[in-house]
Symmetry: C2
Subunit: 385 residues, 2 copies
Amino acid sequence: MVRSDTPDLIVVGSGLVGLVSAWRAAQRGLNVTVISRESGNAASSVAAGMLTPASEATFGEEPLMRLGALSRDRYPAFITELEEESGLSAGFRTAGTLQIAFDTDDLARLSDLGELQTRLGVKTERLTSRECRRLEPMLAPSVRGGILAPDDHSVNPRLLADALWAAAERRGVGGIRDRVRGLLTDGDRVHGVLLESGGEITADQVLLAAGAWTPHISGIPEGVLPPLRPVKGQLLRLRTPADEPPIVSRTVRGLVKGSPVYLVPRESDEVILGATQEEMGHDLRLTAGALWEILRDAHELVPGVSELEVAETCVGLRPGSPDNEPLLGPTRLPGLQVAVGHFRHGVLLTPATGDAMAEALTSGQLPDFARRFAATREFDSDRNE
Amino acid sequence: MVRSDTPDLIVVGSGLVGLVSAWRAAQRGLNVTVISRESGNAASSVAAGMLTPASEATFGEEPLMRLGALSRDRYPAFITELEEESGLSAGFRTAGTLQIAFDTDDLARLSDLGELQTRLGVKTERLTSRECRRLEPMLAPSVRGGILAPDDHSVNPRLLADALWAAAERRGVGGIRDRVRGLLTDGDRVHGVLLESGGEITADQVLLAAGAWTPHISGIPEGVLPPLRPVKGQLLRLRTPADEPPIVSRTVRGLVKGSPVYLVPRESDEVILGATQEEMGHDLRLTAGALWEILRDAHELVPGVSELEVAETCVGLRPGSPDNEPLLGPTRLPGLQVAVGHFRHGVLLTPATGDAMAEALTSGQLPDFARRFAATREFDSDRNE
């Protein structure tokens, strides 16, 4: 659907961040067009969909974890509103997350994580090995213990994206399937984009939300966007045989001899197994080593995964900013806003990003909760370059 | 290409066994039509292509190993003739096979195998761990020793199939892309086949060479064919990064804590990693456990495999007869011959099968070397049923 009228806002990128921004902006009355590449490239189409603010982040990233906790708290109402507007399910599962320690060292690390979670206000409950296995009977008998986070849920990112598209379309958002080659600038102001197919689209504002592909867009002046690095993730989508019960009934995150692995069940017969975290540049190759490590650790934790069918292998690129925190809102270039750098947290941060960007795109200001993540903040790397 | 004239011979199945039989029969003057299902179903399209007569077979299968050794000896001349007639390469590599023992128990087993190979006339050379690593520098330093079989080569089964098709077409063999639903019989004689699409084709003789799918063809009277069981094999096709040397330069077969694994390099940048052997019925699902075991054992033997790209995952069904030996030549039903039950040895046995079937299809008699494998031999299971 190509819109004939000039939009108020062009959104570049149709991952979760681009779509939620488009939908929220349209709810505020903006006339929005989303430009999307071929589907399947968004990191969110590969993501597992865990909503676990304190187990993804590493220590020292407390402000980011607080944003994650805020976004997680907004998830239930967000899903309700989205499913109502779109008429589609987003595959939101509210069974919580069970974190498992495989050996004694893993248990010590998990205890530290538990303390951090408590400090951040994440509700948790310590469990013995036996209690873990009562919740998840397929766990290896040798696991040492765990922590249940009953409010850390999961969502199906592909269904979530479909629902966001549908809700956005109901709000009049238009879509163009093309690649954006570069920004159109007029003096010091962005006033549209140039498409790979040759066309131009003009708008009052442009929002870049193309994840790890954002730096490939030409015409972004030096100093407007800090360097973004792609962080490769490989994972597997498994399928339970037709006549067998699900292998896990909630998200199970394990530490196996220091190595993290997770199993995220879907409402369908699927389980997501992941994931690697590799800094390899723009490399989308599936590797033997990644499959082996994921399968090895998953097998240690839940031996029965061996019986499952491999339905799909996936590779995605997470966009990492210099400080691993997202870059939101207006840039130094008038007419250009960004919502990028969500790294491993894009799914979790979708509701908060939508709220922040709706405000930024209509008022030019980020709301208080998001101000720390302003795209205009200073980075050490800016000074070095 | 559908032939209008009535063929002398219909070959059902376009795996290596069907194609080599068609080509060899056409060389003897028969007018041949091959009926093939959609491509990629043949076990040979999934096979690694090792020509190692004594390392695939288990002890007690000496007659089969002798047939394998005969077929291996015929390979060089067979390839020369085939490549000349077809104008295509079959990816025949003559670098030999290195068998590796990972630990002390594996070394003891490998010594037993070495004695068996010597008894069968397979040329072998015992190597220390250091000698193994001089031949294959990427081997794990901890491997305990090995045996080099300098005359056990490899072929690329997909290229071999392409070359056989081309050579057969040059000899006037026609092809029909369809499934065979059943045999057409006239009194006590087979005189053609009924196609899934509804058509019928008549011929003087029908050769069934449809591997594990053969028993699905209707109209085969009881007692004509013993039960065939599908033996599932899963393997991986890996790719070496563009600027890196091959990970192995010859076939490497390993025993890793009793578990067999192999790496077969191709002339291209590919390496085949395999393989499982599972008796699961007609099950073509790729499983997490199979990938994990293959990758685990390959990683123990050659740690560098982790760096390779996964280009393809493959599942095939090998056709196993009650005694694991092939079933060749005329059946008790006039007009019907078979070439099935090649189990794990189809690629290796391709030249010998072609020679045996050319003789059987033109004279009605198997040559001496193949007589033991007559389809009309008695099985214990016949008596039990």
